[in-house]
């Protein structure tokens, strides 16, 4: 049974220091929980770059292309409709909807992809079992370590966290599969 060992630090700097120590000790399954995004934490965890821009670009181009083709097909092919002598396939008037649908598709893709990446909604994550963890969204800077074996490993991590200056330490049981 694996556990999350959580430690709360008073400042972002202390948290970054603790994460460095943990990584140096060989712990790889680390995370941090902060009330606002902290660049130094991203660096300490060596998080890579997000792939979202590419996804958004593809979705946006797809949506725009779909909208353009739809307008062309409906007004020029399937049901040709002469409006004031303008060409059946008139690019200038097809661009607005193509643009709007491109933006809409990209935005939905971004939001949807974020939800999938976050695994949201997920309101019962084990970290919420620790009452003290409530400070993570207020003024606490938490480090979390996933430890596979119970017993010595847990105690060792707890000690590491305390030595690094953690104000509070908590241990919660991780869900299967996380």
């Amino acid at each position: 049974m694996s556990h999350w060992v959580l430690g709360e630090f008073g400042s972002d700097l202390a948290l970054v220091e603790a994460l460095r120590v943990l990584r140096a000790q060989g712990y790889q399954r680390l995370d941090a929980h902060t009330p606002f995004p902290v660049d130094a934490v991203f660096e300490a965890l060596s998080l890579g770059r997000s792939r979202l821009p590419l996804l958004a670009l593809v979705a946006g181009l797809g949506g725009a292309g779909f909208a353009y083709l739809t307008q062309w097909f409906t007004n020029a092919v399937d049901f040709p409709l002469d409006v004031g002598g303008r060409p059946l396939h008139s690019a200038p008037t097809s661009l607005p909807i193509a643009f709007e649908l491109g933006v809409l598709s990209a935005a939905l893709m971004i939001f949807g992809a974020l939800m999938v990446l976050f695994g949201f909604p997920h309101v019962t994550h084990p970290v919420f079992d620790a009452e003290a963890f409530r400070s993570a969204s207020v003024d606490g800077f938490w480090a979390s370590v996933l430890v596979e074996d119970a017993g010595d490993g847990l105690a060792h991590v707890e000690k590491l966290l305390r030595d690094a200056g953690a104000r509070r330490v908590a241990v919660v049981v991780a869900e299967a599969g996380t």
């Binding site: 670009l57 004031g84 002598g85 303008r86 200038p92 008037t93 661009l95």
Partner: protein, 396 residues
């Protein structure tokens, strides 16, 4: 924490003298062209004149906008903007051929019966605005507005170099923001007087903004090119960081999009309403060789730079960004030619050789003046309280 001290700019002797030489040769060649075909030479000259004047005024408007928004990051660029914006007097002198040739450029001066009855009526209606003395008076007014603003923005900034008082920053900000409506309106009416009037009766209320958007793209591109060109010298380019290029690239990207937006809006509205007095202007530009030029603009002035500038990495790489900027300076010339030259030969795309000589001539003179003017000045406003902030700018 202090900025690395750059010495006063004392070089540039060869640059300004050779630019002036090239400029004079270009102007003389254009003059010779005028002896052969005065109409062609005048249109060619107007193209070159508007191109460089647009860069100068785009820079001036950008500088005033930076002051109006109290921006800190562009302080390191400011001396370059100031010197470029203060080149207005050259253009006053270079305006003389346009003033002399106005009868051959602008149909309203001596309307020919070929224009048709309707156009003649419209031109008669416009007479209170369109008279030669008023045209010239307005031109003087425009130059006075731009010239004074450019002059004082540079002068106060230079005084701050030695005196260091923040009072000068406050004064520059006041002048920069307060003058924006005046120099903006002067710009807008300039586009009517010197460009839109090439067509006897055609009009579009967004035209001034279109020209402004293109000129700003050119001005931003010019700053990027100047920065990269002076990277290894004792000039401002040495102090530019990826953070500055990132911001300049973002602004360039934004104004390229703005240009496309205005161009599309104007085209779509005229195309869809299809009124006979409006569509002629676009009909000329959609057929013959001009149609190809229009496509080149859509692809080269928007689609390609848009796709390239989406990349964050590229915007932070000075040399790559300078490549895009050079490309935009070229396409801005195409854009200017697209505005001016179809009035010369509506039925086929035609680039008179005098356009090239005039472009070189006007450009040489303007560059020479700017370089000559900036000698003895610090390459950055060393007395500005926010220069250190600007130098510390980090990548967003």
């Amino acid at each position: 924490m202090r900025p690395p001290a750059l010495p006063r700019f004392e070089g540039g002797q060869r640059l300004w003298m050779s630019s002036a030489g090239v400029g004079v040769v270009g102007l003389v060649a254009t003059g010779v062209g005028a002896l052969l075909d005065v109409r062609e030479a005048l249109y060619g000259y107007l193209f070159g004149f508007i191109y460089w004047l647009g860069l100068c005024l785009g820079t001036l408007l950008l500088l005033a906008s930076f002051h109006a928004s109290n921006a800190r990051w562009p302080v390191v660029l400011r001396r370059t903007l100031e010197v470029t914006g203060a080149t207005v007097p050259v253009f006053l002198v270079l305006f003389v051929p346009v003033g002399l040739g106005m009868a051959r450029l602008y149909p309203w001066v001596t309307p020919s019966p070929e224009l048709g009855e309707h156009a003649l009526q419209v031109l008669a209606h416009r007479e209170p605005y369109n008279t030669v003395p008023r045209f010239l008076l307005r031109a003087v007014g425009y130059f006075l507005a731009w010239g004074l603003v450019g002059h004082f923005l540079l002068r106060w900034s230079v005084r701050q170099d030695t005196e260091g008082s923040t009072r000068w920053t406050a004064w520059q900000r006041r002048l920069g923001s307060g003058a924006l409506p005046v120099i903006g309106l002067a710009f807008s009416f300039m586009t009517l007087d010197w460009l839109m009037a090439l067509d006897a009766t055609w009009q579009s209320t967004v035209y001034g903004i279109y020209v402004y958007s293109g000129a700003t793209v050119g001005a931003l591109a010019l700053v990027v090119v100047a920065g990269v060109a002076t990277r290894d010298t004792q000039h401002f380019g040495r102090l530019l960081t990826p953070g500055h290029y990132q911001r300049l690239g973002t602004l360039l990207f934004a104004f390229i999009c703005f240009w496309a937006y205005i161009a599309y809006s104007q085209y779509m509205l005229i195309w869809v309403a299809s009124l006979p007095e409006e569509v002629t202007w676009y009909l000329v530009r959609m057929h013959g060789g001009w149609g190809a030029v229009s496509w080149a603009l859509i692809l080269g002035h928007f689609v390609l730079p848009f796709a390239v500038l989406l990349s964050r990495e590229l915007k932070q790489r000075p040399r790559a960004l300078a490549g895009v900027a050079l490309w935009m300076l070229l396409l801005h010339a195409v854009d200017t030619a697209w505005l001016v030259l179809p009035a010369l030969s509506p039925s086929r795309a035609h680039l008179p050789w005098t356009a090239l000589t005039a472009w070189v001539g006007v450009g040489g003179c303007a560059v020479a003046f700017a370089v000559w003017r900036s000698r003895g000045m610090y390459p950055v406003p060393v007395g500005d309280p926010f220069l250190v902030h600007s130098l510390q700018v980090r990548q967003p």
